[in-house]
């Protein structure tokens, strides 16, 4: 406090008054530290906070942005906890193979938040609106025509048999109110209140971009039942502070670091474990020797101890990679593929067969900082089979750019999107993004991949996907090393869960709106 005296430096009177004022101020700050917890409000903590104005065209293009919008807007179909599609705005649906068309039976008596009735023409309108104003989460390119048969039935004609439609379009596309959106010409910049009129279980009360907070109130007339909590609140907190806020009861749910989960389990909280929607992947430059030789890729697969990677670099919080690419918790997973159990002896044999006996092979592995401990472990493993690896750690955007230009030998990086429709396998084998192996030399694999998109029947599609995974594991266009876990903790007020396969088209966020419905 001494410095303040220097500041004033005149008579005792002024000095005392100022001191008193400051003391009162500081004292009141301390008194004020009591938190205000309202049992009617359910609070979810988030480390980023701001995910955009939660209307379909204005939320940020990341999963959590979509999820905040999905509380207000409904889709035709929606996934339940086990990933099964259940009716939302459509209560039933069927596929008519001869016509390549889906018929959706809409739920009668559903009202928009402003009291207007929801009808089939809203669905028809949404499809045509999205053709004009593309929405990055839904690609309606395959839709030929949409017809309202009557107020409660919609028929969607497709250009071709297209299996991903049911999840990626019907289960992801938010249905817009025609009476509002027909007047909105630039939805990307439209953030008036009426842009938020949906049919969902919640309505937005407030969104604060700077503070990264959202406040919702429940829609008492929700057609699936009244939501359990009156108000739902999202707040922004630093990652390290979230566990403390949960323990103090200021927050009901939020992400926590793996080290904390045992503490929470002991105290009776529920720990939610994410599904395996993300993978760390080793990619090869298939345009170069020796990587274009199948035996070499197999040797690498035998030569890397994937279990060790999980146990050391992920401290056990993850799952060993499946050489068939699709994660083992996916309904499309096929287990009977070559597993490449760690076997340095076999790896050396394969290399010898290729003519690499004796002298060590010098190769370069490109990666970014987050994988540097994985890279070191791989280097050690490969040394044992006669490959000397030079690790180059670059900024991740640079790694991606080099991968895109084929300016690498091997790359260690990762990507998500493994939860949704198995269309992702096509994109990751045949696609031209840098995440893709860009592998076109196996004609059979190529044909099977194209075929799987056209099979609407689930069990039939599974059979084709089994063949695909078998071929993938044999050919190893890329090698999945592991699938990491992430954790969220919640108290037991509301049964939040990770939806299997991710929400909508595969979003790994444990906030399914159905959790709030009895």
């Amino acid at each position: 406090m001494a410095f303040l005296f220097f500041l004033i430096g005149r008579g005792a009177f002024v000095r005392n008054r100022l001191t008193t004022f400051l003391l009162i101020l500081i004292f009141s700050l301390f008194i004020f530290s009591a938190c205000n917890s309202n049992p009617q409000v359910y609070t979810i903590a988030d480390t980023t906070g701001d995910w955009g104005f939660p209307a379909p065209f204005t939320h940020y293009n990341r999963g959590p942005g979509y999820v905040r919008m999905s509380l207000i807007f409904d889709t035709l179909l929606w996934k339940d906890e086990t990933g099964n599609l259940v009716g939302a705005l459509a209560k039933d649906w069927e596929y008519i193979e001869e016509e390549k068309a889906f018929i959706f039976q809409l739920r009668p008596g559903v009202k928009w938040h402003d009291g207007e009735y929801f009808t089939a023409s809203d669905v028809v309108f949404t499809f045509s609106y999205l053709k004009k104003h593309p929405y990055s989460w839904v690609d309606t390119g395959v839709v030929k025509e949409v017809v309202a048969l009557n107020d409660e039935e919609v028929k969607v004609y497709l250009e071709k048999d297209y299996a991903p439609f049911i999840v990626n379009v019907a289960g992801t596309m938010p249905i817009l109110p025609e009476h509002i959106y027909q007047n909105i010409d630039n939805p990307l910049e439209y953030t008036e209140e009426d842009a938020l009129i949906g049919t969902g279980p919640f309505k937005l009360v407030d969104y604060n971009k700077e503070q990264g907070t959202y406040l919702y109130e429940r829609n008492d007339n929700y057609y699936l039942g009244q939501p359990k909590v009156e108000r739902l609140r999202f707040i922004k907190l630093n990652e390290q502070m979230i566990p403390q806020a949960i323990l103090r009861g200021e927050v009901n749910a939020g992400p926590v670091p793996p080290e904390m989960i045992d503490t929470f389990k002991e105290k009776g909280y529920t720990v939610l474990i994410s599904d395996y929607n993300w993978n760390a992947k080793l990619k090869f430059n298939l345009r170069q020797e020796p990587f274009s030789d199948l035996r070499f890729r197999q040797a690498i697969a035998y030569g890397i101890d994937r279990e060790k990677l999980v146990n050391i670099s992920q401290r056990g919080h993850g799952l060993e990679g499946n050489p068939g690419f699709i994660p083992p918790d996916s309904p499309w997973y096929y287990p009977e593929v070559e597993q490449y159990e760690y076997n340095p002896e076999k790896a050396r044999e394969l290399l010898k067969e290729m003519g690499y006996g004796g002298e060590t092979l010098k190769l370069e592995l490109l990666t970014s900082a987050r994988f540097s401990s994985d890279a070191e472990l791989i280097k050690n493993d490969l040394e044992k089979i006669g490959i000397s690896l030079e690790i180059r750690v670059l900024d991740d955007k640079t790694v991606d750019a080099r991968t895109q230009e084929w300016a690498f030998q091997m790359v260690l990086s990762g990507h998500g999107g493994l939860g949704g429709d198995p269309q992702f396998v096509n994109n990751m084998v045949l696609g031209d993004s840098f995440h893709s192996a860009r592998y076109h030399s196996n004609q059979e694999l190529k044909e099977l991949l194209e075929k799987q998109l056209t099979i609407i029947d689930v069990s039939e599609r599974k059979e084709v996907l089994a063949q695909i995974q078998k071929l993938y594991a044999e050919d190893l266009p890329a090698l999945t090393l592991y699938y990491p876990n992430s954790y969220q903790v919640r108290d037991n007020q509301v049964n939040l869960y990770y939806t299997l396969g991710g929400l909508a088209s595969g979003i790994p966020v444990p906030l399914n709106k159905l959790s709030f419905i009895e």
Partner: protein, 323 residues
């Protein structure tokens, strides 16, 4: 301040504006990917990608993008952020008040305290108080804001529970008036203290060194001989003369007002420009990067300009080129 100086400033502005456009575009990485996220791109069709590239204006030739950027600046339009999907100006104006509240107050408080302690300490050179302060601040000077911030948050927020764990106000508390103000101050206290503690040391050390040198000057001896009270010598003579380096330093710090608090903003989940810039760079959000750095550059140029104006008022010798 002659016409030549003003031309110098204008030239600097033009160079900064051009660099501002071209440098971010030299960063590796595809803006489309950074904005839409890899997961969205995995499911996105080539047609959708083309449409989105067009929507962001990234399909236009570079010179046309540059021209649009320049004409925007002239019209006072800083562009439209790809990632945040809003006008850049609105984003800046939204974050600016919180940043100024935090870093502005930190700058004022740390400069005032640092200066006063520096003068007092230098005046008492070699005595116990001086030695204590010097050791303490040398010690403090070694810590980055990150460490001090985390320490304060852990001690006062987590262990003692006296202060909130983050944010700039209690969300949806429906507070108004004085209690809202108190709530904001309550949230401000820890991040502000962390910044003040980080910045105070360098100001103190600078002032103390200047004062110690000044005390050996003949005019101080003259002042003492004239029988002027020690307190007046301390501030009217020594203090005023040691202001010059402080003004320079404060000018430099002012430029860092917007960007300097990134770590503190992150630790305390405090809204502000630091995080906005961080996310803009990470997301290759060119319009936002340009907008932020344009603002920073203009402010730095303005500050330089004012510092040059203030100098002769503090120390007339500067004007007469006596230095």
């Amino acid at each position: 301040m002659g016409r030549k100086r003003i031309i110098d400033y204008l030239m600097a502005l033009v160079i900064v504006i051009s660099l501002n456009f071209f440098l971010p575009r030299l960063l590796p990485g595809d803006p489309l990917l950074s904005i839409y996220g890899e997961d969205a791109l995995i499911t996105m069709t080539p047609e959708a990608k083309v449409e989105l590239t067009r929507r962001m204006g990234l399909d236009k030739p570079l010179w046309e993008q540059f021209f649009n950027y320049l004409s925007g600046i002239v019209k006072g339009d800083l562009g439209y952020s790809y990632y945040f999907q809003g006008p850049v100006l609105d984003l800046l104006l939204g974050a600016l008040p919180w940043t100024l509240l935090l870093t502005g107050l930190a700058l004022i408080i740390s400069t005032l305290i640092g200066f006063i302690l520096g003068v007092e300490s230098g005046w008492r050179k070699g005595r116990l108080a001086d030695q204590g302060l010097l050791t303490g601040f040398m010690f403090l000077n070694g810590f980055p804001d990150l460490v001090i911030g985390l320490f304060l948050l852990l001690l006062f927020g987590v262990v003692l529970g006296l202060f909130p764990l983050g944010g700039a106000m209690t969300p949806y508390s429906q507070l108004t008036g004085v209690s809202l103000l108190l709530d904001v101050l309550h949230h401000l206290f820890l991040p502000l203290s962390a910044l003040v503690l980080t910045e105070i040391a360098s100001c103190y050390l600078l002032t103390r060194t200047t004062v110690v040198t000044l005390l050996e000057e003949p005019f101080i001896l003259t002042a003492r001989a004239k029988g002027i009270k020690p307190k007046n010598i301390r501030y009217r003579h020594v203090g005023r003369n040691s202001l010059l380096p402080i003004v320079t330093r404060t000018g430099v710090r002012l430029g860092r007002l917007f960007t300097g608090a990134l770590f503190i903003e992150t630790i305390f989940a405090y809204p502000g420009m630091g995080l906005l810039i961080y996310r803009a760079i990470l997301g290759r959000d060119f319009p936002l990067i340009q907008g932020v750095f344009f603002l920073v550059a203009v402010v730095i140029l303005l500050i330089n300009f004012f510092v040059e104006l203030i100098y002769p008022r503090i120390d007339p010798r500067v004007k007469n080129n006596a230095y």
